[in-house]
């Protein structure tokens, strides 16, 4: 092939790719028409968001966001994906809201919008095996291997201490598996997140201690591509707080 023909092929290739990308972008906007609310979740974090026995996505956050969509007169389009995929999708505008038991954090504020917390004061707890020497405070954790779930409040909080040897794993199930197989001394998590585990596991095999100095709060995340949506969602959440809807949903999931 001569140079001219090769260059022509390259230009055609790049051109059609550029056309395809711009076409895709315009499609995204059609998809997010005003009658839909596109919500992303990672259904691996009970009781906030998980799949029940019929493989339906349910949970505290899901009930909240469904009620929000309902009050905004929008049809909810719930998409389940890995936690690490949620943010890129939200930032590109393919998702409008994330409901996945997430906590607000100042450093993240430049990338997304947070609503005000609809659940507060969920304390952090230290979980150890019953056969392990008791660990009841942050000071006790010094020199111990402590599991936290990546990016959750316990991770952010414990990372500010130099004492514990922190081991970050993606899910609560991973954490318990490592704890049981003696790969770690303790697991620190928000209390609400570990309760569902004990529906199937023997509570007497573990010691759970509340860390009174730190608690978790939960919010919805709204994409920065939809600034008008943040206000609408916040108004609905405020109304739900006032008329007791949020309290009812909390009761349903045994959260306080």
């Amino acid at each position: 092939m001569n140079y001219g023909l090769q260059l022509l092929l390259i230009v055609l290739g790049i051109g059609s790719m550029a056309f395809w990308i711009s076409h895709r972008k315009s499609q995204l906007h059609i998809h997010t028409d005003a009658s839909y609310l596109i919500v992303g979740t990672n259904a691996e974090y009970p009781p906030f968001t998980f799949r029940n026995h019929n493989s339906e996505i349910v949970g505290f956050d899901i009930d909240i966001v469904k009620e929000v969509a309902n009050r905004l007169h929008k049809t909810i389009d719930l998409v389940d994906m890995s936690f690490s995929m949620l943010l890129p999708k939200l930032q590109s505008g393919a998702l409008q809201i994330i409901a996945a038991g997430v906590s607000p954090l100042a450093e993240r504020e430049s990338q997304v919008f947070f609503t005000k917390p609809y659940l507060r004061n969920d304390p952090l707890v230290i979980i150890t095996r019953a056969d392990h020497a008791p660990l009841t405070s942050i000071a006790d954790l010094t020199g111990q291997t402590v599991i936290v779930n990546d990016g959750f409040t316990a991770d952010l909080y414990l990372s500010s201490f130099t004492g514990p040897i922190i081991k970050r794993l993606p899910t609560v199930a991973d954490a318990f598996l490592n704890l049981i197989s003696k790969r770690a001394d303790a697991f620190v998590s928000a209390r609400a997140a570990i309760e569902p585990f004990f529906e199937h596991a023997d509570r007497s095999k573990f010691i759970i201690t509340v860390l009174p100095e730190k608690s978790d709060s939960y919010v919805l995340i709204v994409s920065r591509k939809y600034p008008e949506l943040l206000e609408q969602v916040q108004d609905v959440l405020d109304a739900m707080e006032q008329d007791g809807t949020i309290a009812t949903i909390k009761q349903k999931w045994n959260l306080s």
Partner: protein
């Protein structure tokens, strides 16, 4: 979209992650190459049960995903009463995996060395060990150097699987920074660039090694 000031406050995370990735890769590579050469030589020279065992080993290792192997080593070894650290679990798993692939590369390299060479060495009074060490292996390795380079590049990228057992290597650190900054494209852009620098440096090294090993060779 990319917040460089925020990312620069996490620069030590990327540096620590790169150091650990290089450590896992180099030790894994050491196990892989040493083990691979031994297994390759056994497969090329030995007939019988030992060779069958090696064949079973390479079949199992090459036929199962690396991710599963890491999990297996991580949870199996403590059951056997031997608890290596997370990092060493990853190094052992990656080394074992790599040795199976390297053994096949070495075996094919040994097969390229003509029988006449071995006969000549025998006539000159070299022992079989000396023949392998000084006659066969240098030529075999030279022949398969590009394939070995490929395997090492794969190995470096496979170290990211150590993140599944909580090892804070480069890709796990990337996730760590991402969970704190929510800046996905910036974080993974930087990490991809770091992997690229490591692997292309290795490619260049392998290229120069090839040049060096080929310098006394005349092609007929």
């Amino acid at each position: 979209m990319i917040n460089f000031t925020l990312l620069s406050t996490y620069s030590h995370e990327f540096i620590q992650g790169t150091i650990l990735t290089l450590k896992i890769a180099s030790l894994g590579c050491l196990i892989g190459i040493t083990g691979g050469i031994m297994l390759g030589v056994i497969q090329a020279y030995v007939k019988g049960p030992l060779a069958w065992l090696v064949a079973i080993y390479t079949t199992i290792i090459r036929g199962t995903p690396m991710l599963i192997q890491i999990m297996f080593i991580y949870f199996l070894l403590p059951e056997l009463g031997f608890i290596p650290s997370d990092v060493w679990s990853a190094i052992i798993a990656i080394g074992i995996n790599s040795s199976a692939y390297v053994s096949q590369i070495i075996r094919s390299g040994i097969n390229t060395v003509g029988i006449g060479q071995r006969e000549a060495a025998y006539v000159l009074g070299l022992t079989q060990f000396q023949t392998i060490r000084f006659i066969v292996l240098p030529q075999a390795i030279r022949a398969v150097l590009p394939a070995l380079g490929n395997e090492l590049i794969t190995l470096i990228k496979d170290t990211s699987l150590a993140s599944t057992i909580g090892v804070m290597e480069l890709s796990k650190r990337a996730y760590f920074v991402q969970t704190r900054t929510f800046d996905v494209i910036g974080v993974y852009g930087i990490v991809a660039a770091i992997y690229l620098v490591i692997t292309s440096t290795l490619s260049i090294l392998v290229y120069f090694l090839e040049q060096r090993m080929n310098r006394n060779v005349t092609r007929s």
